[in-house]
Symmetry: C2
Subunit: 261 residues, 2 copies
DNA sequence: TTTTGTACTCTACCATGGTAGGATGTCAAT
DNA sequence: ATTGACATCCTACCATGGTAGAGTACAAAA
């Protein structure tokens, strides 16, 4: 049974040596200008979520750029599926603000709207501050040790300049707080609005001291939660999340061609 | 050939006027096994959103009860459309937690999960408290007068015991705060999670003094915002939103057959 | 040169048929 | 009487064809 997938691994599934040999060699130009060259889907699993995941990744990593067209037909051809699951994926992406669907005209990668990024930051901060406040002094020892382990791994990631690993651990850190508080739906909301910030974040160059600052803030948040100081936990979380957006302002001029408004 | 409906229905239905009085008495239950009997769609407008809207209303007003089956085929027959837009509507409702889609088994109205209702309340409160804090002292005079007008209309609605009108004005009140703060996406999130609370709220019988309490809280919030007292605005908003959920606990026993966990 | 009408192209959108898999009822075997 | 296998039904899911509408390019008229 290859359909069983454990939850918790942030690594996307790799259909390693898929059952069906793709008739189209990816990257060799099937006739389009700049194909995203995404991996083919696994036909044994529900297709629509796979399409969604691939498109989401392609958009947040700027593999496809804002205002680029996302044709149902073209995508279905490239991915070797019909238009229906592609359409379902596009609808969901449109719900999350990553795609603009213009009826009878086409679907396009949404521009980076600074307004939306700032509001996403507002929503995330509002929720996570409340999560931190609620969590302060109500953690299981088991969870606190997990948190400390995560922080230790963050430290080694910083030491090794492994930015991708750090971002992964960062995500696990914040998700863990929500789940320990029994607020899984809140994390879903955060994740949804965070997509708007991810594109900007992906562009922020690895400034040397930045990760150290973030790690230090993670430690402060953890300490405040552990000691049960609700206000302090909220303050540190607020400062931490403001830090993330700070990099966006630095990019404003540099990315004028990608940003709207 | 159900596609040949081009010239038939030129009658413009009223999509979201909101004031359509539902003839369903909340306490008596729907009683019969009668089908939802929803209005037919307008084929000139995009169909899928119309289906979504009708189903959302039917679920939040308990016209269809939890764990009831929502078959794509059956709904498409009842509404006179194909299964595709029905499916798209169901997917969106599943995203919002009002429908459970079990692959290859069926789609069902989600049970009222008290956990989810409480978390929806948490999310809403976190966001709206932050909105109120941000808004305090930063309102245009024009908006404040609008707010006062809304409060006056609320007062007359309370005087006339018009609960539906009050709920409508209540929604406009909270939405207005978000929009004045330039946080339209936040309102979308609030609206999305509020769906979980709406089913419970729809069941709360009209206790005589309840609307007066809510109105008084609206006034307190407005005053705090007007005077620029951020903390006070947040506190009043928090108390106000906690009040809404309070009725849920009263219903816990009464609705055990509708509520899960 | 500017404006307008028109044919064409491309798109999302919907209808509809086919398919795989879970659920259930029936019947035989123990 | 209980249990197991099997046949049937029903479901979501996907593939695919058709349709109307918005953009666009070009030609004709002012």
């Amino acid at each position: 049974m290859e359909a069983k997938r454990k939850l918790g691994a942030a690594i996307p599934d790799v259909p390693s040596s898929g059952t069906s040999p793709s008739p189209v060699a990816p990257g060799t130009g099937v006739g389009s200008l700049a194909p995203p060259a995404m991996e083919p889907v696994n036909p044994r699993l529900p297709i629509a979520p796979q399409i969604y995941e691939r498109l989401r990744r392609a958009i947040t990593t700027l593999l496809v750029l804002p205002s680029e067209a996302l044709s149902e037909k073209e995508l279905s051809l490239q991915l070797g599926v019909s238009r229906t699951p592609v359409r379902e994926a596009l609808i969901r992406l449109a719900d999350e603000g990553l795609v603009d669907i213009l009826p009878q005209r086409g679907s396009f990668v949404a521009p980076i709207r600074l307004r939306d990024v700032e509001e996403a930051q507002f929503i995330r901060e509002s929720l996570e501050v409340a999560v931190a406040c609620r969590l302060a002094g109500h953690c299981s020892p088991r969870f606190l040790s997990e948190l400390r382990l995560n922080l230790a791994r963050q430290e080694s990631a910083v030491a090794e300049r492994d930015r991708d690993l750090f971002l992964e651990l960062d995500e696990a850190f914040h998700r863990g707080l929500c789940e320990e508080a029994g607020l899984s739906k809140s994390w879903r909301v955060i994740q949804s609005v965070k997509l708007q910030m991810d594109r900007v974040r992906y562009l922020s160059l690895p400034e040397p001291g930045h990760l150290d600052v973030l790690l230090a803030q993670h430690r402060q948040i953890t300490s405040a939660i552990e000691s049960g100081d609700s206000d302090e936990a909220g303050r540190h979380m607020s400062a931490h999340l403001k830090e993330v957006l700070g990099s966006a302002n630095l990019l404003r001029q540099k990315l004028a061609h990608l940003i709207e408004k």
